[in-house]
């Protein structure tokens, strides 16, 4: 199978006053198309920073990231945005819906950005899949946390992404709702063949993926197979 994400000797440092703080050091791994992958580790281990670098949201201090065949550090910010828009989906811990847009409007943003004409129909189909078709005109503030995350999942799949990054997708949800969201994510992953990368500190959730990457202090501590 082809590699969709290839990370080599990735490092990230931040400057704090005169001090340089190393967040990630010499990270190398690769993910194949359609694979489910989780990145776990304690708080401050660099999980979210790694996710940001993998998705081209930030530039590494050293090493390289190849996403969908493109070397990200060689690309401009706009080119990376274009790549994200066409190939990447996101699910965030805090749902990150645009508060001034309705559920449907939120879902269709990525495809409208592509200039697609039948966006509303695609959006309604996705909302139907996550069981919120009847709430399409509701604003995020009128939805519960679980409902908001379902809208976020629908949005993440709206551009039919090749790879989906989920950052603590159940972190702000109760156990039952969290399980439902996870089920939804894995079902859509199977149905559409989307690569799934989950950042979590929930080992139970990580076990559901094919590969688990354990981070500690900004370095890879272990790489294990999940039970999936």
């Amino acid at each position: 199978m082809a590699k969709i994400l290839n990370i080599e000797h990735l490092g990230k440092t931040y400057r704090s006053g005169t001090r340089e703080i190393s967040v990630l050091e010499d990270i190398s791994f690769s993910i194949e198309e359609g694979e489910t992958y989780s990145i776990v580790g304690p708080s401050g281990s660099g999980k979210t920073t790694l996710l940001g670098l993998c998705a081209g949201l930030d530039q590494p201090s050293s090493g390289s990231v190849h996403l969908c065949g493109s070397e990200l550090s060689a690309m401009t910010e706009d080119a990376r945005a274009l790549l994200r828009n066409q190939k990447v989906g996101f699910v965030f811990q805090n749902f990150q819906l645009l508060p001034t847009l309705t559920a449907l409007e939120n879902v269709v943003v990525p495809i409208e950005l592509q200039g697609i004409k039948n966006a509303a129909k695609v959006g309604m189909d996705l909302l139907d899949k996550v069981g919120l078709a009847d709430r399409f005109h509701h604003y995020p503030s009128q939805l519960s946390g679980g409902e908001q995350q379902r809208v976020a999942v629908a949005r993440a799949f709206s551009n039919n992404p090749s790879i989906l990054f989920a950052d603590e997708p159940t972190g702000n949800l109760d156990t039952t709702t969290g399980e439902k969201i996870v089920e939804l994510l894995f079902n859509l992953n199977k149905e559409r063949g989307t690569t799934l990368v989950i950042v979590t500190h929930d080992l139970e959730l990580a076990q559901k993926t094919q590969t688990i990457l354990k981070l500690k202090g900004g370095r890879i501590a272990a790489k294990e197979k999940g039970i999936a």
């Binding site: 979210t48 910010e77 706009d78 274009l82 828009n85 990447v88 001034t100 409208e112 592509q114 200039g115």
Partner: protein, 850 residues
């Protein structure tokens, strides 16, 4: 299956859709931003539109304003040359002789300085004389009667049929004169017109030595006559003979320009209101965009480029600006209908209000442009937001490009300069305006910063919790101190400057309570009348302050170059007005209290065969390019007199006394034809009226100027104008209030969190209310006091440099504006925070979160 666009770029319509979707949900916040600009636009549009209408109406009614196609006039009786010119034009269609004179009324104690106008022929040829009764306009000549100014008729309780004494004649008043072409209400206030038949003028016996008589010859032109060419052709000949030509076109243009200047001033006042609104927009957008940065990060995560996210909010702001521009323009077009009510008879024509497309476009474009320009700097934040912010990674604030920021700031100042240049048409004034704005805003911003630093540095740690917390609010992160002090300060500055400037103007004109200052000036006193007039004043126990001889003369040559040569010389350095000016010269051997010698020596020794030493005023040095030692030749009623400048005097023209540009020594002009000017002081209006009445009865040729009356007229005019200026300044205050509301609202969420936290920790409503009240009290006092003090400084500078007069500021701004504006700020601040204070913490959090 999804069909992807190969360019994968969202269209403009999507950006517009996103701007609308987001805008719809942020309606309340955006509504306030829009209101900030609406009033400024309304103010500018109303002034602009009214100005255009006034100009158009003046041009349309130019013939009826002047009453004729063109006229030839002078203060000299026509000589042979002029008669030849008049004949070559086919003879005048009508003529008029006019002069100021005192008149009295039979059976009535009143006397009045009036402008006597003797008219012959069919003048006015356009427009009409409006009288009451209307028939009087046509019958007064045949009746041998007079038309007397309607206001005087009312003041002195006169009726048609009553008699008026003009010089040596007593004639009936045919009717009251409401209006006559060629006469404006402002100038008629000092010497209201009395119209009578030309034939009666000679019988009054008022036209004599020293009288300021004006001769007008009116012409009706053929349609095809090119008036501009006629004016250019005739001017040289006429000027040589001290005559001038005026056409209805040039006269209306001149009138238009005069009102244009006043319009420009009002435009600037309106423009300041607009700028203040823009400062409000910049501040509100700053907070608004801060709240939107998370959404920008999410959009970037989803693949939106920075240009796209920037464009969404830019379009939103432009849309608000457009809407604000449209509402402001409609409001402005409506408001201009009020101006004729404010200005009343100061306007030369009845203004028919129409809507100018140019002004409408300007208003709408101004709305869009100003909103975008002032929102640009805070909007730039969206460009530098990292998508990482959506992932809980707080990178801290991204560095904005300093260069881009400077460019935006430069753009703002260039725009302010260009717009003020468009309003004023003068580079220096526009630069001064921009500089003035910059200085005012900088000082107010400096005051705010200093205040915050001072509180930080000298924080009263021993104060109680409530007092300390209210002070802390003034310099906490995201505080509103700067914007509130700017808004309150600029508004107060404008209003109090208007008050102070009015004080300066009135102080300059005011004579009350000044000892030894004349308030009655008697002109045209013949030499043989002077002793009797002085005796009459003394008999009434009134002091004669001055008694000066006046000799009239014209300039003949300067340093061997004659006036005619100078007229032809296009490179001359002398001002043109001097070439035709009739100098009223006095002679004495002492300087007066209003004069200071600044150059040369005060020489009173006249030697036979040598030029007469004269003293000139400093303005002549400037206008006539004269220096000590220059030879000046005067034509004293046909006799050429050789003089030499021996000294230059600085003259305080603002003193209410007779001042002279040229002073001769004694012993030269005593035998020349002359008249006297006598000044006196009367303690009150009644004594003044008695004296005037007595003099008019005995010496009808003497003209009396009652300075007290003139002051009343000046005050009346200032009152009317200041109404309009106050009206415009209130736009700034209202805009300031809206900016204030906006600033209070945008910080509301933060306040709620703090209040809720405080209440959770056990603070009582009363304590929270006190904290809020004290904070707004500090802001209100500091903002309004800064504005008042700034305007006090500005007015003092105006008084020193422009009006050159001592300035005693009015207490009104301190007693009315300071507490008034503070209370207003307090009320707005508290009313907005009341809902927070009254509700239980959880309910507030839930409501604000939704």
């Amino acid at each position: 299956m999804i069909e992807k666009n190969s360019t994968a770029k969202a269209s403009f319509s999507w950006l517009l859709k996103m701007a609308l979707r987001d805008g719809k949900a942020s309606g309340k916040k955006l509504g306030l931003f829009m209101a900030s600009i609406v009033l400024g636009i309304a103010a500018v549009v109303s002034i602009q539109s009214f100005g255009v209408n006034l100009k158009e109406n003046i041009a349309l009614q130019s013939k009826s304003l002047m009453g004729t196609d063109y006229k030839i006039d002078s203060n000299d009786a026509p000589n042979e040359r002029i008669i030849a010119v008049l004949d070559s034009l086919g003879g005048a269609d009508a003529r008029e002789i006019s002069f100021p004179s005192m008149v009295s009324f039979k059976g009535n104690e009143g006397t009045k300085l009036v402008q006597v106008r003797g008219i012959e022929g069919g003048f006015p040829f356009y427009g009409s004389i409006e009288t009451d009764p209307p028939a009087a306009a046509n019958s007064y000549k045949a009746e041998g009667g007079a038309l007397l100014d309607a206001t005087v008729m009312l003041q002195l309780n006169l009726k048609p049929g009553d008699s008026i004494n003009i010089g040596n004649i007593t004639i009936p008043i045919s009717g009251s004169l409401v209006s006559i072409p060629g006469s404006t209400a402002v100038f008629s206030s000092v010497a209201p017109p009395v119209v009578l038949s030309y034939d009666l003028i000679e019988k009054t016996e008022l036209v004599q030595m020293g009288s300021r008589v004006k001769y007008d010859f009116y012409f009706v032109a053929e349609e095809e006559l090119d008036l501009r060419k006629l004016r250019t052709d005739l001017r040289p000949t006429l000027q040589q003979n001290n005559y001038s030509i005026d056409t209805h076109v040039s006269s209306s243009e001149r009138l238009g320009r005069r009102f244009d200047n006043f319009g420009k001033f009002l435009n600037l006042v309106a423009f300041i209101a607009l700028l203040l609104g823009c400062v409000g927009i910049a501040s509100a957008i700053h907070i608004y965009i801060k709240e939107k940065l998370k959404a920008v990060a999410i959009l970037k995560c989803l693949g939106a480029t920075k240009r796209q996210t920037f464009s969404i909010y830019l379009l939103q702001i432009a849309g608000i600006g457009l809407l604000g521009g449209v509402i402001g323009t409609v409001l402005g077009l409506g408001l201009q209908q009020l101006f004729p009510l404010f200005l009343g008879d100061l306007l030369p024509v009845d203004v028919e209000i129409t809507f100018s497309t140019q002004v409408i476009f300007m208003g709408i474009l101004l709305g869009v442009f100003m909103s975008v320009l002032f929102a640009l700097y805070p909007l730039m934040n969206t460009l530098y937001v990292s998508p990482l912010q959506a992932l809980r990674v707080d990178e801290g604030a991204s560095e904005k490009s300093r260069f881009a920021g400077l460019m935006v700031l430069l753009g703002i100042f260039v725009f302010i300069f260009l717009f003020s240049y468009w309003l004023l048409g003068d580079v220096t004034y526009s630069l001064a305006f921009v500089l003035g704005i910059l200085i005012t805003f900088s000082i107010l911003a400096g005051v705010a910063h200093l205040f915050m630093r001072a509180i930080k540095r000298f924080f009263p740690t021993s104060w109680g919790f409530v007092a300390r917390q209210s002070l802390l609010n003034l310099f906490r992160p995201q505080n509103q101190t700067l914007i509130l002090i700017l808004a309150i300060g600029v508004g107060t500055f404008l209003i109090s400057t208007l008050y102070f400037t009015k004080d300066v103007l009135l102080a300059q004109a005011s004579l009350e309570s000044q000892e030894n200052t004349p308030n009655i000036i008697l002109l045209d006193v013949q030499s043989d009348q002077q002793q009797a007039v002085e005796a009459m004043i003394s008999d009434k126990n009134l002091p004669v302050i001055e008694n000066m001889p006046i000799v009239t003369m014209r300039l003949h040559a300067i340093n061997e170059k004659t006036v005619n040569e100078m007229r032809r010389d296009t490179t001359r350095t002398i001002d043109r007005w001097l070439l035709n000016h009739e100098f009223r010269v006095s002679y004495r051997n002492e300087l007066t209290i209003a004069e200071t010698l600044v150059n040369g020596e005060w020489n009173t020794t006249v030697k036979d065969g040598e030029p007469v030493p004269i003293s000139i005023s400093d303005n002549l040095v400037r206008d006539a390019a004269l220096e000590v030692g220059d030879d000046v030749y005067f034509n004293v009623q046909g006799v050429i007199l050789h003089t030499r400048v021996s000294s230059v005097r600085e003259v305080d023209w603002s003193r209410a006394q007779m001042n002279f540009m040229v002073v001769f020594p004694e012993g030269v002009l005593e035998d020349a034809p002359q008249f006297r000017v006598i000044t006196a002081q009367t303690p009150d209006a009644a004594a003044s009226a008695q004296l005037q009445q007595a003099i008019v009865m005995e010496f009808p040729n003497v003209t009396i100027i009652d300075i007290r009356q003139i002051l009343t007229v000046v005050e009346g005019i200032l009152e009317k104008i200041s109404w309009l200026i106050n009206f415009m300044a209130f736009f700034s205050i209202f805009t300031g209030i809206i900016v204030l509301l906006g600033a209070v609202r945008t910080s509301k969420y933060q306040r709620i969190r703090e209040s809720v936290l405080l209440r959770t920790l056990g603070a009582q409503s009363r304590q929270i209310l006190k904290i809020t009240a004290l904070e707004y009290f500090y802001l209100g006092v500091l903002g309004s006091l800064s504005g008042i003090l700034l305007s006090l400084g500005g007015s003092q500078l105006l008084a020193w440099w422009v009006f050159e007069t001592p300035f005693v500021p009015s207490w009104v701004p301190f007693l009315v504006l300071l507490p008034g504006i503070t209370i207003l700020v307090l009320a707005i601040g508290l009313s907005n925070s009341m809902s927070v204070i009254k509700s239980p913490p959880l309910e507030v959090l839930r409501r604000e979160g939704s």
